[in-house]
């Protein structure tokens, strides 16, 4: 059964490997994610993708298809996906209406994919651009969930492998 689920997940992910969010993950919009993160006091995993982005597709297919990673990230984070070229409207907590593209401009996101880890308040903890492996995401998760970011840079953390 686990094998069938895994294959199904793989098929779902590979079928939309053109930088939509990976299937099988409960990604929500940025404003909804902020609301849920505050409500549940969970950190946010924010995925900036772009339509047609190759490394987004590669990450979707080769990394997000991992069943254990999926389980870990659904447990630990509110998952948010932003299409960096989209005109989809968002309402920020202070009431301002912006678009997903504008969010990228404000957060200085100028490549894709970019993965951001945020406090429930929206404050940025870690910015991780480019293709990432399962191991990368597991390391980032330990860094964020373990609170190491309060005292160490990600490079210091990875060098010491706490």
């Amino acid at each position: 059964m686990r094998r069938i689920t895994g294959i199904l997940l793989c098929l779902l992910v590979s079928s939309i490997g053109w930088a939509d969010p990976p299937a099988g993950y409960p990604f929500v919009a940025y404003d909804e994610g902020l609301r849920l993160a505050r409500q549940q006091n969970k950190k946010i995993f924010l995925y900036f993708g772009r339509y047609g982005c190759g490394y987004c597709g590669k990450t979707n297919v080769e990394t997000f298809s991992n069943r254990d990673l999926r389980k870990l990230y659904i447990k630990h984070y509110i998952l948010v996906y932003v299409d960096a070229e989209s005109g989809r409207r968002l309402t920020l907590p202070e009431g301002e209406r912006i678009t997903e593209m504008e969010l990228g401009a404000r957060l200085n996101v100028f490549s894709s994919p970019v993965f951001l880890y945020l406090e429930p308040s929206g404050e940025i903890i870690l910015r991780a651009p480019g293709y990432k492996t399962v191991k990368d995401f597991e390391d980032f998760d330990r860094y964020v969930q373990g609170g190491y970011y309060r005292n160490q840079s990600i490079n210091e953390f990875l060098a010491g492998k706490s």
């Binding site: 490997g17 053109w18 930088a19 772009r50 339509y51 047609g52 982005c53 190759g54 490394y55 987004c56 597709g57 590669k58 297919v61 070229e85 005109g87 409207r89 202070e94 009431g95 301002e96 209406r97 678009t99 593209m101 504008e102 401009a105 200085n108 100028f110 490549s111 894709s112």
Partner: protein, 401 residues
């Protein structure tokens, strides 16, 4: 000695094309209090227009408690704008555009309740609101038509699964905006979304540009229709780089195209382009001498000092005299500033408008030339949660060689 000669040669050559800008004192169009947010983000960035001696700026803000559309006007020689005039009736309303009619009158349009709407406005009148779309629609843009007293419009309209670009001519009869001959720009069965149109009409015909996702990544496409003729097949405007990795991706992206014309047959397109993906979006432009039927090769607009910084919110204007200016914002000096470049034989070094201040975000420029070749520009300032729309008027003075 040879080096001195080369330097002298360069200085002489530079002087031939040197052009100074003279700007008047910047003015505040509207200043919102904390918690009120202004937006200048029409599709095609057509939020500013000039009719004879009257300037109009339209924007969205939430001062009433929900997003609504406002306009302010000034005579070209006046030292201030009229108080904001609310022009949307229902709402929330978003992303307004404006285009000039003769005699200080304008057509304004916006999105509300999932449709696009339009009305005549001037400092002294508001016509009734007209629906331009019968289906779900968004991202309306407007431009002055080649025929005096008319406006051309384009918007993205949903048909079944996909948004497609529609156009229409707009006339005004007894103060009422009347859409004419609404049609699809590309009547092939859609394969993916078309978004964010820009439109320009010259004596050679009408050209529409838009974001198109049919190739699996966002491309800029254009289509041209001669006067009284149908649109030809869409053409891809932007060069792009194929994906660097096998099996994944469909190449670099591009977005938010803008168009301007001198009214004759010259058209300039500008857009944000990610072909140099490591530096984020750059501003690219292409010019046409046949009304937009064909465009010359892409040209990068910003100078080398802006190369490693992403550019955002490109706007373009062309004067009746053929001058071209492109403006955008970037953070090359730390905070966001509005920059602009003019095109003579090549794109000039980048300039800033007056009133740029350190520590303040200045972004979202909009531009228009008047018939006398004066440039009108506005942008959005953000500081400590409050937004201001600022305006300036300038004139380019060419230095004799």
């Amino acid at each position: 000695m040879r080096a001195v000669a080369i330097l002298l040669g360069y200085l002489v050559a530079s002087a031939v094309f040197a052009a100074d800008w003279q700007f008047q004192k910047p003015l505040v169009v509207t200043a919102a209090s904390r918690g009120v947010f202004c937006h200048l983000d029409a599709s095609g960035r057509k939020s500013l227009a000039v009719s004879d001696d009257t300037v109009a700026i339209v924007w969205e803000d939430n001062r009433s408690g929900s997003a609504q559309i406002y306009a302010a006007f000034k005579k070209i020689d006046a030292d201030g704008f009229t108080p904001p005039l609310r022009i949307s009736d229902a709402g929330p309303a978003y992303e307004p555009a404006v285009a000039a009619l003769p005699h200080g009158r304008f057509v304004a349009g916006w999105e509300a309740n999932g449709r696009v709407w339009s009305r005549l406005i001037s400092p002294t009148e508001k016509g009734p609101v007209t629906a331009l779309s019968s289906h779900p629609a968004q991202q309306l843009t407007l431009a002055r038509a080649a025929t005096e007293g008319k406006v051309v419009a384009a918007w993205a309209q949903r048909r079944d699964k996909w948004f497609q670009i529609m156009t229409a001519g707009l006339t005004v009869q007894n103060g009422v905006v009347v859409p004419r001959a609404a049609r699809l720009v590309d009547d092939e069965p859609p394969r993916d979304h078309q978004f964010y149109p820009a439109i320009a009409e010259s004596r050679a015909g009408v050209v529409v540009a838009w974001e198109d996702r049919r190739q699996g990544a966002t491309r800029i496409m254009t289509a041209f229709a001669p006067p009284a003729g149908g649109f030809g097949p869409p053409r891809v405007l932007n060069d792009f780089r194929a994906s660097r990795i096998a099996r994944f991706g469909n190449g670099t992206g591009a977005m938010r195209v803008v168009l301007a014309t001198d009214g004759q047959a010259n058209v300039t397109a500008a857009w944000l382009d990610k072909r140099d993906f490591e530096g984020g979006y750059d501003v690219y432009a292409a010019v046409s001498e046949d009304g937009g039927k064909t465009f010359a090769a892409d040209e990068i607009v910003q100078d080398m000092l802006g190369e490693n910084t992403p550019q955002w919110h490109a706007a373009v204007a062309m004067s009746r005299q053929g001058n071209i200016v492109v403006a955008w914002d970037d953070s090359r000096e730390g905070s966001k500033d509005v920059w602009f470049s003019t095109r003579e034989e090549s794109w000039s070094d980048d300039n800033t408008f007056p009133a740029m201040e350190d520590g303040r975000s200045e972004a979202h420029p909009v531009l228009a030339y008047d018939d006398h070749g004066r440039l009108h520009a506005a942008w959005l300032e953000l500081r400590q949660g409050a937004s201001v729309i600022r305006y300036v008027q300038g004139m380019q003075r060419f230095t004799p060689p």
